[in-house]
């Protein structure tokens, strides 16, 4: 008798991934799908696919899916959740989509405390269009549109997204993870699952940033890309929990915001 010890999550379709060898999108897709399976929410979840490498996510996830215009996934997800408050709604976005063209939608969905979950893939480059400078490209990083390296005097500085969003009262969970080792993959899974659980509980807006690789556009082998991630990405984008209102002892973002307002006004101890 053989025993099945590993299989495709039910929440992934049998469509073949369109990702390059060594790309970490596939790992993160699997983690999201496993989460839907374990929470039993595939049938009540609506996902939003972005523009970019993961645009075809609507073919890969087994739940109902909507494809959104570049950067607009948080606005689309906002309306989906308002229209379907009993459902689970997540958006899957890359760095160009989320932190450049869609930054306004990102910040405002977060500050409104929309009860949605954002899975944010940060690989410091525009992958789909062939490797251009991203809002999260590192200082001195060579890309197609920063051929001499990102000059911060010209192109400015990269954005640390979860740190920035963690200042907003609507955010329930802002955490950065990576998927370079089995240990970190398991930690990433726990973070993603926690984000979905917070949404189901109605705690507030949740975002998990996954520091990821792009071997193709970084011009590295998959293994070297993971090493480059460890040497360059993680020091600039340290994994960690940047905001977690439940860990801080609050039931939801409203309670946490009220306590913070009180604290800032000097009106009492928190």
């Amino acid at each position: 008798m053989s025993k099945i010890v590993f299989e495709r999550p039910h929440s992934l379709t049998d469509a073949q991934f369109s990702y390059c060898p060594g790309c970490t999108h596939g790992i993160v897709h699997r983690l999201v799908a496993e989460t839907m399976d374990e929470l039993g929410i595939e049938g009540t979840t609506v996902g939003v696919a972005p523009v970019g490498c993961s645009v075809l996510a609507y073919e890969f996830f087994g739940c109902d899916m909507v494809q959104a215009a570049h950067g607009r996934a948080p606005a689309v997800a906002t309306a989906l959740k308002r229209a379907l408050p009993e459902n689970v709604v997540f958006a899957y976005q890359g760095d160009g989509d989320l932190a450049s063209i869609g930054m306004a939608e990102t910040v405002h969905a977060a500050t409104r405390g929309e009860k949605i979950t954002i899975i944010f893939i940060n690989n410091a480059i525009y992958g789909m269009t062939g490797g251009q400078l991203a809002p999260t490209s590192l200082p001195d990083q060579v890309t197609q549109t920063s051929p001499y390296g990102r000059d911060v005097n010209e192109a400015g500085f990269p954005i640390r997204v979860v740190e920035m969003l963690s200042t907003l009262d609507g955010v329930a969970l802002a955490q950065r993870v990576t998927v370079d080792t089995p240990k970190n993959v398991r930690a990433a899974k726990r973070a993603i699952k926690k984000a979905f659980e917070y949404q189901v509980e109605g705690v507030g807006y949740t975002i998990i940033e996954v520091v990821s690789t792009c071997p193709t556009n970084w011009g590295l082998s998959p293994v070297d890309a993971l090493q480059w991630l460890r040497d360059n990405m993680l020091p600039y984008y340290p994994p960690g929990v940047y905001k977690d209102v439940k860990a801080d002892g609050f039931a939801n973002v409203a309670e946490a915001a009220a306590a913070r307002a009180l604290e800032l006004a000097g009106g009492g101890e928190v």
Partner: protein
């Protein structure tokens, strides 16, 4: 009621429970009315961070199978162009209100009809059309938006109400429709498959050119049905008209007075008022052209709808244009003067 408020109330009675707005003059009363009424109807009023976000929220709510609307004025509609194109590409219904003001750029805040091209030709990128309805009274603001939601669902297309600052701000008595209680099923909507069907996908991306062409061809077959069945125009004193004036929306009100004054002076003038700007009421205008000696198009812009009129008339009779731009409303007297000049030139030609 004020035009903007009457329109908002009619939308609620049409079953709209999702309104996404962003402040801009001269449509502000519409959003304010929605903010007041929606919570009482168990609906959602959400002030978006931008017009771009607002239209994408309409996209999301519509994808979930809900009746959703957004409103703005000209510069804001330009920003919505992207989302409207995506809605057309994903075959999503939805209603967009444009309470027009003068342009281009920031332009002004006075009434205008200078977004005719944008509404009927190129609201966004790609091959698509909107159904465009042009009210000329507060009652029509009410009636057309009520109809717009049904048209949007029936043909799975965004529908635009092309109003202007004058209609939005004016007050007239209005009869409101009875609230709608039955709505069409939307088996394509994303509501969670509950394990009972394969996943629904709302999407406008088709990487295979043959497949993308197929979706365009299918959509244009739908447009052909719309053109065949949904053209609407009001005809006023056109039966024996030698000079047929074509005008829509607010400018048609001025033309109506001018036509009456022209008739008092013995000039056989009439008015055709396109109600659907797309589909353009070509049949009504073509029939009137058979009897007319000249056509005059009057618009609150530099001459936009006149292009469609010329396509229909196709050189059979002269087509003249009179318009005021920048938010200036033409007066009945100056419109009458244009009609009189055309009448005189026709007589001159007959002698």
């Amino acid at each position: 009621m004020k035009g903007n408020e009457a329109l908002a109330e009619a939308a609620i009675r049409a079953g709209c429970r999702f309104f996404f707005g962003y402040p801009i003059t001269p449509q502000t009363e519409l959003a304010a009315y929605m903010a007041k009424r929606m919570p009482k109807e168990g609906g959602v009023y959400l002030q978006a961070e931008s017009e771009i976000a607002a239209i994408n929220m309409v996209y999301g709510a519509s994808a979930a199978g809900k009746r959703a609307m957004t409103s703005s004025s000209s510069p804001g509609i330009s920003l919505k162009g992207e989302g409207i194109s995506y809605m057309a590409g994903a075959d999503l219904p939805g209603v967009i209100i444009n309470v027009q003001r003068g342009g281009p750029g920031l332009g002004g805040i006075q009434p205008s009809q200078s977004d005719y091209f944008q509404a009927t030709r190129a609201t966004g990128h790609g091959d698509f059309h909107l159904i465009v309805l042009a009210p000329s009274t507060v009652q029509e603001m009410t009636d057309y938006v009520f109809r717009a939601f049904d048209l949007a669902d029936e043909y799975r297309t965004p529908v635009m109400i092309l109003a202007d600052g004058m209609l939005g701000q004016m007050m007239e008595p209005v009869v409101l429709p009875e609230p709608k209680t039955e709505f069409p099923a939307k088996p394509w909507a994303v509501t969670g498959h509950k394990g009972q069907r394969t996943h629904n996908i709302v999407n406008s991306l088709h990487l295979k050119p043959e497949r993308l062409e197929e979706t365009n061809v299918e959509r244009y077959q739908r447009y052909d049905r719309i053109k065949a069945t949904e053209q609407l125009a009001e005809e006023y004193r056109v039966e024996d008209a030698e000079i047929v004036v074509v005008a829509f929306g607010a400018s048609s009100r001025i033309v109506r007075s001018a036509v009456n004054k022209a008739r008092e002076k013995g000039i056989k003038a009439g008015l055709i008022r396109p109600i659907t700007l797309w589909p353009f009421p070509a049949d009504a205008i073509s029939a009137a052209t058979d009897r007319a000696k000249a056509i005059l198009t009057v618009e609150m812009n530099m001459g936009q709808m006149v292009d469609d009129v010329r396509l229909v008339v196709c050189g059979r009779v002269p087509v003249e244009f009179f318009g005021r731009a920048g938010g200036i409303i033409p007066t009945p007297a100056e419109t009458l003067a244009v009609i009189e000049r055309i009448a005189a030139s026709l007589e001159g030609g007959a002698r």
